[in-house]
């Protein structure tokens, strides 16, 4: 008989509510009953009031239970959780039919909650690295053009067109250029960057690599706030795995192109979310704001041309960098007429989720 797959989320919030203890108790219960289970730690689907949200794979799809406290596990198992039975009060059925999920169109978050964040197999089975492969077939200008046409705008607050920023870096000659990911996410209530980094880190890696190919940068840094220890661990491990599989390094997928990536930790200074103080900090100085001009795109990290983009901007790149991969434009990504769709700062009560192309709660 095949092992039953059980999903227990592993992001910060699920863990902050006891997901690790839930996972341990499920394993013990399975041993006690002699049931063969495969425990999979997925990302969070973002229904935090239902975390820890346990899901069981059945012949007819996944069955969800939540919120599951460690002390609920034995009763749930007695009520048939391993078989996907739904008699227990915490049974929720197919979570994708939940109104909160059913009315969303998830693009950047399409994999989040479904996959093991550190599984390259899961990632590639759901379009992972398809954007990178398509980008490798284009010229650098071709990639910049695609990002421009897609209309992708920066998710870090100012909604600046990403393709235009990249064009400046592309056009500025230099021996060394950089891609810097702004993962300082300092504002209370905005944790969408955290979810991407913890729940789908390969997507950010892929986006940054494509950015490197587009502008001719061979080194990337993710400037991550020190308040996110789990995101750091996930990113570090994902980078190691991506390197081992040839998605990062001196010769990406045998293309002859190089891209190296490193996580650098901030140190509890809110101002370092501002891009020029972030660059000062990366250079090892106090995070004091620089005068502009020069733009970071012309004189950025160590005085070299540098793309500074938010996590969500870079994570969206694999979806938007090639026409083949791009979803048909909805109202959201491109339109300056939809300024509320910036992710920072989030004003929605379910913070961090205000940016998705579904009825935005803050739109007037």
């Amino acid at each position: 008989m095949m092992a039953t797959t059980i999903y227990v989320p592993c992001d910060t919030t699920a863990r902050s509510l006891g997901a690790d203890a839930v996972a341990a108790r499920l394993t013990r219960a399975a041993e006690r009953l002699g049931v063969d289970i495969q425990l999979k730690r997925n990302g969070s689907r973002g229904l935090f009031w239902l975390e820890p949200l346990v899901e069981v794979e059945t012949a007819t799809g996944r069955v969800a239970y939540g919120p599951v406290a460690p002390t609920d596990v034995d009763a749930l198992v007695d009520a048939g959780l391993f078989e996907g039975r739904q008699e227990h009060d915490l049974a929720l059925g197919d979570i994708e039919a939940h109104p909160y999920l059913a009315r969303q169109q998830r693009l950047t978050f399409s994999r989040i909650g479904l996959t093991d964040p550190l599984s390259l197999e899961d990632y590639t089975a759901r379009q992972g690295f398809a954007g990178l492969k398509q980008a490798l077939a284009l010229t650098p200008q071709g990639i910049v053009d695609e990002v421009k046409t897609s209309g992708l705008r920066g998710r870090g607050g100012a909604a600046f067109p990403t393709g235009i920023k990249w064009q400046t870096v592309h056009d500025t000659p230099a021996a060394q250029k950089y891609i810097v990911c702004n993962a300082d996410e300092g504002d209370s209530g905005t944790f969408a960057d955290r979810l991407v980094m913890e729940c789908d880190p390969f997507m950010l890696i892929e986006g940054m690599t494509i950015a490197g190919l587009a502008v001719g940068a061979t080194q990337g840094y993710i400037y991550l706030r020190s308040e996110y220890p789990l995101a750091q661990a996930m990113l570090d491990e994902a980078i190691v795995r991506a390197e081992a599989a040839g998605y990062l390094g001196d010769n990406i997928l045998d293309s002859g192109h190089a891209f190296h990536l490193e996580v650098r930790l901030g140190a509890g200074a809110y101002i370092c979310g501002e891009e020029t103080s972030l660059l000062e900090s990366l250079e090892g100085k106090r995070g004091l704001v620089r005068a502009k001009p020069p733009l970071p795109a012309i004189e950025g990290l160590f005085g070299q041309p540098t793309v500074v983009n938010n996590v969500l901007s870079l994570a969206a790149v694999p979806l938007f960098s090639t026409r083949a991969a791009r979803p048909t434009p909805t109202t959201a990504w491109a339109s300056p007429a939809a300024p509320w769709r910036c992710s920072w700062p989030a004003t929605s009560p379910v913070a961090g989720w205000s940016s998705w192309p579904s009825a935005p709660p803050c739109a007037s």
């Binding site: 902050s16 209370s188 789990l230 140190a267 509890g268 090892g284």
Partner: protein, 168 residues
């Protein structure tokens, strides 16, 4: 307090610090990775590290001091066995972080940036742990705890105090 001539412990500390410095000094923008590595090893940035970092990265001591003091994350005094950070940012305040903070301070008998007399816990403020949907949030070392209240905090500290002291 006067400082006597260096003791063997100081020599050992200097050797440890030098090893970390040598490991990181050549990296581009080495300062923050280096300070993080020292704090990871010692729990704080010992005074003795300052001239050594200054020398390795070609800064003045004053510059190194200036950088350490700019970033709230870096400590200049040894912390207790566990560092407890209470989130004071808006989303957590909206769901009771102030009451939790008051309880934590009185339960531990310390204010922020202080360590309990038994050197078990150091208390620090933090501004958002990205766990805003399920606050009040609290970080103990590298673990984050959600929906924390007074009773939950008391259970947590009881568990932490009960664990065997690791001898370093």
């Amino acid at each position: 307090m006067s400082h006597p001539t260096p003791q063997p412990a100081d020599t050992a500390l200097a050797a440890q610090l030098q090893a970390v410095i040598d490991q990181h000094a050549a990296r581009p923008g080495a300062m923050l990775p280096l300070l993080h590595a020292i704090q990871a090893q010692h729990g704080y940035i010992p005074d003795a590290a300052v001239p050594m970092i200054a020398e390795a990265l070609r800064h003045t001591r004053a510059e190194v001091h200036g950088i350490i003091s700019f970033y709230h994350h870096f400590r200049t005094h040894p912390p207790g066995r566990h560092v407890i950070q209470v989130c004071r940012a808006e989303a957590c305040q909206a769901v009771g972080a102030r009451a939790l903070e008051a309880h934590v301070k009185s339960a531990l008998g310390v204010d922020y940036h202080e360590t309990t007399a038994d050197r078990e816990f150091t208390l620090e403020p933090v501004y958002c742990l990205g766990n805003c949907a399920c606050g009040p949030s609290l970080r103990v070392d590298d673990e984050i705890h959600g929906r924390m209240d007074a009773a939950g905090f008391d259970r947590l500290t009881a568990q932490l105090s009960a664990t065997v002291v690791e001898v370093k």
